[in-house]
């Protein structure tokens, strides 16, 4: 992949955003402003789009997706990568991702746009290939040297042994210099920073083993550790690569899930509409927001009336009516009518930014988690150095100053204690576990997330968009006569309001054909009106229709002089929500529900899912405070949420999960991203994490056991290169096999 398509993708993506603003009212498809996105865009012919395909899993999926995408206008080719569950589309300039996602949705595949941060993705790919190349070289050298070493161990003498040692040296030295670089570089960095990381003893062992082997070869010695030096490099590189891949896969998918932000705003300057980057907005500017668009900055409505969806900001599911004088926050979605706003706060002062400050505060309050690997490395490095130097000193004294012998012993100690198994213990398990989680539709963004997930004892769920889909479903269509239903369907088709769309979908689902209406028009902020058989038919707000307002999500239908009919809606449950909550409770976790929504809706959901503790009407700060309180009481909190109002709580929690449909900010704040719609993998994830932590600890146990046997042998000077090779490969292989047992 070259640089230019990546920039092309950036430009295509930013155009896609503009399209979202005008064509889509889906709150999850839009979000808050970013000036960064703007900087990346450029004008280049052709575009490469990336879509994530969480549900793709087989040959048929590949064929279906590629065939369907190739059929779309402007698409040159599409290639599915099943391992990463994404498809890369090579398209002409100007092709946007929204219609492609819609096309895939029609044939039954869920797709999300991936961000155009592809530049960095190519960089990381290069690093992965670089590591693989070093592994290849080390593997090649290891096998050849081992071939020669076996001849020496089985009794090659004198000139033959020297010859074999020389050939080994000729292979090993360039290999160690090339393949060992990642360790040398990081060890040097650690030393300069005054630290003693895991890489210092590793580098020391590799260098010492090579140097002493060259010396022994020159002196016609019996023992050369070339095979050990190269084998060490090989096994450690494998561990390093596994570790890298886990992180790279997670990073590329999670952070590139489309930024979904509104980078531009339409400003009225001297009566003309000018499109400017959101960062350039100033208080006092007049901005225009079309239906379906996200409010780019805090402001006061000066013209127009509409309804806004603020569910991602506050968790409220009911759209809110706004008219002139109403104050709006950045991030709300305008639903029905065009609005003109006077900006009151933009950029740093806006409510969006205040939310970001809240996140920053939660971030700084969070103590850094020390992973098992770090703890092991911290204990390990000093012990190894101490052992090696003690062995050197003691043998110098015992042999009366035989430098060659003493150095040989201390090198053998370093080589044998060298953390092949330790280096593999964590990455091998994490790779196996995150692979299993990925197949279940969970993406681990942070390497330590798995360990933290294993410690969780309390789970806090957000409601709207997390336990529920955030999309309403009509509840009482059955109460309507076929005729009323037909009129309602026709009226609903005339609006893009979420309730109207839900109603239209609901009527199609029950097989109702819309009636024919005349003079169909939408009254922004109120509803839809039309003429049916000479009578006025209206669908919309209670006060506009003349119905009694209720406290649940509802819309009202009135035909002619008939009594108004109330159509109630319920937020549909996210698939797997019941299973996930039940499984977590069965695992003995304390489950809480916290929502910014009204009490009735929250209580109903809590009862339905069997959640005993719930809090309604919670502000973002209160959510974060609740999580902090629980933490202060000693609980390890798993927070599951999707909205901007959850971001601070997600950051404050011990570990956090957000669905792929969540706002960019929420996904960034969370450690694990749920790729599919289904919520049930969350409960499995906790189980897998507990198992993974057990495996990691077992692996540490295994490598300690090997060392406990091998180190005394090395210390008393009985270690041969053969013993070192056996200990090293046996422990590495046992550890890897143990990791694969993860079920």
């Amino acid at each position: 992949m070259t640089v230019s398509p990546a920039i092309g993708a950036a430009s295509a993506a930013s155009e896609a955003f503009e399209d979202h603003v005008s064509a889509s009212a889906c709150p999850a498809c839009l979000a808050a402003p970013s000036a960064e996105q703007m900087a990346k865009s450029g004008d280049i012919k052709g575009a490469r789009l990336m879509l994530s395909l969480p549900t793709a899993h087989c040959a048929v999926c590949i064929t279906d997706v590629e065939r369907e995408l190739a059929r779309q206008p402007g698409v040159r080719s599409a290639r599915v990568n099943l391992t990463l569950k994404r498809v890369s589309v090579d398209a002409e300039h100007g092709v946007e991702s929204a219609p492609l996602i819609a096309a895939l949705d029609r044939i039954g595949y869920e797709a999300h746009e991936l961000d155009a941060g592809m530049l960095s993705a190519t960089e990381t790919d290069k690093r992965g290939r670089d590591l693989l190349m070093r592994i290849g070289v080390a593997g090649f050298a290891m096998m050849n040297i081992m071939l020669l070493s076996i001849a020496v161990w089985s009794g090659a003498e004198a000139a033959t042994r020297d010859l074999f040692h020389w050939i080994s040296a000729a292979i090993a030295l360039p290999t160690v210099i090339f393949a060992g670089q990642p360790f040398f570089v990081s060890a040097w960095g650690a030393l300069r920073g005054g630290r003693l990381g895991m890489d210092v003893p590793i580098s020391l062992a590799i260098i010492l083993a090579s140097a002493i082997s060259v010396f022994e070869t020159i002196k016609h010695g019996h023992h050369a550790y070339f095979d050990a030096a190269v084998m060490l490099t090989f096994f450690l590189l494998v561990g390093r690569y596994l570790d890298y891949r886990t992180r790279a896969v997670a990073r590329s998918a999670a952070e590139e899930l489309a930024a979904l932000e509104v980078p531009r705003a339409t400003v009225l300057r001297d009566g003309a509409e000018v499109v400017v980057p959101v960062g350039d907005l100033r208080p006092g500017d007049l901005i225009r927001v079309r239906p379906g668009g996200r409010i780019p900055a805090d402001g006061e409505v000066t013209l127009g009336s509409s309804e806004t969806d603020r569910s991602l900001l506050t968790g409220e599911t009911l759209p809110v009516y706004v008219g002139p004088g109403a104050m709006l926050s950045a991030g709300e979605v305008n639903l029905t009518g065009p609005l003109t706003l006077r900006v009151t706060a933009a950029g740093k002062d806006s409510s969006l930014h205040r939310m970001a400050d809240l996140v920053a505060m939660a971030e700084s309050a969070k103590t850094k988690y020390t992973s098992l690997a770090e703890r092991a490395a911290r204990a390990y490095a000093p012990i190894v150095h101490l052992l090696s130097f003690t062995a050197f000193g003691v043998w110098m004294w015992l042999t009366g100053g035989d430098l060659r012998f003493a150095i040989n012993i201390s090198a053998a100690v370093l080589i044998i204690t060298c953390p092949c198994a330790l280096g593999l213990a964590v990455p091998a398990v994490v790779t196996a576990a995150s692979g299993r989680l990925f197949r279940k539709g969970l993406l681990i963004k942070d390497g330590t997330a798995l360990e933290r997930l294993a410690e969780v004892d309390t789970v806090v769920f957000d409601k709207t968009g997390t336990l529920t889909m955030g999309t309403p479903k009509p509840e009482n269509l059955g109460d309507l006569s076929a005729q009323d239903l037909a009129v309602a369907a026709a009226l609903a088709a005339g609006s893009s309001h979420p309730l109207a769309r839900a109603l239209a979908e609901g009527t199609v689902a029950v097989g109702c054909a819309p009636a024919t209406l005349d003079d169909l028009r939408e009254v922004p902020g109120y509803g839809v009106e039309g003429r049916w058989q000479g009578q006025i038919a209206r669908l919309g707000r209670a006060d506009w229709i003349g119905a009694a307002p209720g406290n649940s999500t509802a819309t009202h239908l009135k035909i002619g002089a008939q009594a108004p009919i109330t159509l109630r809606f319920a937020d549909s449950l996210r698939p797997g929500a019941e299973v996930a909550v039940a499984a977590l409770i069965a695992q003995g976790k304390r489950v809480l529900l916290v929502s910014g929504d009204v009490e009735g809706a929250v209580a109903a959901l809590a009862q339905r899912l069997g959640i005993a503790e719930w809090h309604a009407g919670a502000l973002p700060q209160e959510k974060a405070a609740l999580v902090a309180d629980l933490t202060a009481q000693g609980a390890r909190v798993l927070m599951v949420g999707d909205g901007l109002n959850d971001t601070a709580a997600l950051t404050a929690a011990h570990v956090s999960v957000s669905p792929a449909s969540a706002l960019d900010a929420a996904r960034t704040a969370s450690d694990i991203v749920l790729l599919g719609q289904d919520l049930s993998p969350v409960a499995d994830a906790v189980g897998i994490a507990v198992q993974a932590r057990r495996r990691i600890k077992q692996n540490f146990g295994i490598s300690i056991l090997y060392n406990a046997i091998a180190v005394p042998i090395a210390l008393i000077g009985l270690a041969t290169p053969l013993a070192a090779a056996l200990a090293m490969s046996a422990s590495s292989i046992t550890v890897s096999l143990n990791s694969l047992r993860l079920k």
Binding site: C58, A59, V60, I62, T63, E66, R67, S77, R79, V80, N81, L82, T83, L84, S88, D90, D125, R129, L132, M133, G136, V137, F140, M143, N144, L147, L148, T160, L163, I167, I171
Partner: protein
């Protein structure tokens, strides 16, 4: 032992061939989608260009 003068270079050469083949497969991005490549063999669509 003079056979070693042939055998060692031959073994190194063969190993080297393997290494070069590995570099080639790496450079032509054959490890980017192992799962997809395994599944693709079941697809009926004739695919003349294995790598995008």
């Amino acid at each position: 032992m003079s056979v070693l003068t042939y055998l060692i270079p031959i073994s190194l050469f063969l190993g080297g061939v393997g290494l070069v083949a590995f570099f080639w497969s790496l450079k032509s991005r054959q490890y980017e989608d192992p799962k997809g490549d395994g599944e693709r063999i079941l697809s009926d669509e004739y695919d003349d260009h294995p790598k995008a």
